[in-house]
């Protein structure tokens, strides 16, 4: 779920950009090092990024019948690792803003934080954790991808709540509202994305 252009106040835009910057920079430094040692990785990374973009531009059928775009971060994180995924997601989010008008330039930092950092790291952590705890591969992948997607939506709702706290319920109340408004599309989407990722990883594992 993207926060659209102009929706966040200027201070929040700057704040989230600063919060995301270290993660993107760390990933960029790592990519730069790998690419300098193995120049052929550059093309593979370009293709991987294109794949992540196409993935997130796909219309996903959802159990409620509505259609929505997956984040793709769960699949991307399990294929390429969270650090690389953060950088690729940052570029993908920039492309989405300029090719689809989804998200925006002023909200890029906030969207990178939810979709490029929290999502992939939650997915990656869950995948590692559940696998280590002895869960089957399908279960680990399902929860990693579904909760990775869901965490993006939860973080986005909190970002909105921080910007627009509820006069009565404060930030927590506002978060509840935003979670509620977008739940109709986002919860079924997370389940679909989890299931889809299981199908894809099963096929790729063959």
């Amino acid at each position: 779920m993207h926060i659209m252009e102009g929706f966040l106040p200027a201070t929040h835009c700057v704040g989230w950009a600063l919060a995301s910057a270290p993660f993107v920079a760390a990933g960029a430094v790592r990519i730069r090092r790998v690419v300098r040692q193995h120049p052929e990785v550059k093309l593979l990374l370009g293709a991987s990024g294109a794949y992540v973009f196409v993935l997130s531009a796909l219309k996903l059928p959802s159990v409620t019948g509505s259609c929505s775009h997956p984040t793709g971060t769960g699949l991307a994180a399990s294929l390429f690792g969270p650090t690389v995924t953060t950088v690729l997601s940052a570029i993908v989010l920039l492309f989405q803003a300029l090719l689809l008008a989804h998200g925006g330039l002023t909200t890029l930092g906030a969207n990178i934080f939810s979709m490029g950092i929290v999502g992939p790291f939650v997915a990656w952590g869950l995948y590692r954790g559940l696998s280590a705890a002895g869960a089957s591969l399908a279960v680990a992948i399902f929860f990693a991808a579904a909760l990775g997607d869901l965490s993006t939506y939860v973080v986005t709702s909190f970002q909105l709540a921080l910007a627009f706290p509820d006069p009565a319920g404060g930030v927590a109340g506002a978060a509840g509202k935003f979670l509620g408004v977008f739940a109709v599309t986002q919860v079924p989407l997370a389940i679909s994305e989890g299931l889809l990722t299981v199908v894809v990883m099963n096929l790729l594992g063959k």
């Binding site: 926060i3 659209m4 252009e5 102009g6 929706f7 106040p9 200027a10 960029a28 990519i31 730069r32 690419v35 300098r36 052929e40 550059k42 093309l43 593979l44 990374l45 370009g46 293709a47 990024g49 294109a50 794949y51 973009f53 196409v54 993935l55 531009a57 796909l58 059928p61 699949l75 570029i91 492309f95 300029l98 090719l99 689809l100 008008a101 989804h102 925006g104 330039l105 002023t106 909105l160 627009f164 509820d166 006069p167 009565a168 319920g169 109340g173 506002a174 509840g176 509202k177 935003f178 509620g180 408004v181 299931l195 889809l196 299981v198 199908v199 894809v200 099963n202 096929l203 790729l204």
Partner: protein, 247 residues
């Protein structure tokens, strides 16, 4: 998916320097984000829409198609902002608190103004032109190259995806939720090795052209015009003044 790009590639403003268009769009966004008056937001929105429809001659239907997803988000988000959630005996209840409508409406208008400014940039400027600015302005050689390769491979991969979806639909792959999910899974799983394979073949293809790890190419672009830049900055200054007066 290709709507915005198609407009950007064929726009009357395509050949204006990307830097000018970027300054105009981000400048307008900056004014909109810092202003606190409805009038200024409305002025930015009106200016961007006028430039798009009258200047760049984007049809109203295409403009709506490009804007509908972000506008949907803005409406839902502002609705949530305008209402108030409180707990009464454990049950959540919604209310429309007095005075909540105005700030919500302001945020909605501000967001629409910024979306219009973003579209003003996106519908007139090919993404590659903006990537050039970014590459020069700190994105770095490696990431810049990766972003360019991504852009090129995205188009090729999208063609494969469209044809794949079509072929699966021909074989009734999207009848029902379970089948749809399975079909999409099959398609994505087949697409990954294909996309990575393309990267390998592209490596061979570029090597035949002397590729040694750096993607260099010559650009044809108009130099930034002091006159146009002055007009853009003048317009932005006028908006900023309006914002100050309004506040």
């Amino acid at each position: 998916m290709r709507l915005i790009d198609r407009h950007a590639q064929t726009s009357r403003y395509r050949h204006l320097p990307a830097a000018e268009k970027l300054i105009a769009a981000t400048g307008a966004m900056a004014v909109a984000l810092t202003a606190e008056s409805f009038l200024v937001e409305a002025a930015v929105l009106a200016a961007a829409v006028a430039l798009l429809t009258l200047g760049a001659r984007v049809g109203p239907r295409d403009l709506w198609r490009a804007a509908r997803v972000p506008v949907g988000f803005v409406l839902a988000g502002s609705l949530a902002q305008a209402t108030s959630l409180s707990l009464h005996g454990g049950l959540p209840s919604l209310a429309w608190p007095v005075g909540s409508l105005e700030p919500a409406a302001f945020v909605a208008l501000r967001s629409l103004a910024c979306i219009a400014a973003l579209l003003g940039l996106a519908l007139t400027t090919p993404l590659a032109d903006l990537l050039h600015l970014l590459r020069r302005g700190g994105l770095g050689r490696e990431l810049g190259d990766i972003a360019f390769l991504m852009l090129r491979i995205i188009w090729v991969t999208l063609d494969c995806l469209t044809e794949g979806l079509r072929s699966q639909a021909n074989r009734l792959g999207f009848v029902g939720y379970r089948r749809s999910l399975r079909s999409l899974g099959l398609l994505l799983a087949a697409l990954l090795p294909r996309t990575l394979g393309r990267a390998r073949r592209l490596e061979t293809g570029l090597a035949a052209r002397g590729y040694d790890g750096a993607l260099c190419f010559l650009r044809q672009e108009q130099p930034v015009s002091a006159l146009r830049l002055g007009m853009i900055l003048g317009g932005l200054a006028a908006l900023a003044t309006l914002a100050r007066l309004g506040a």
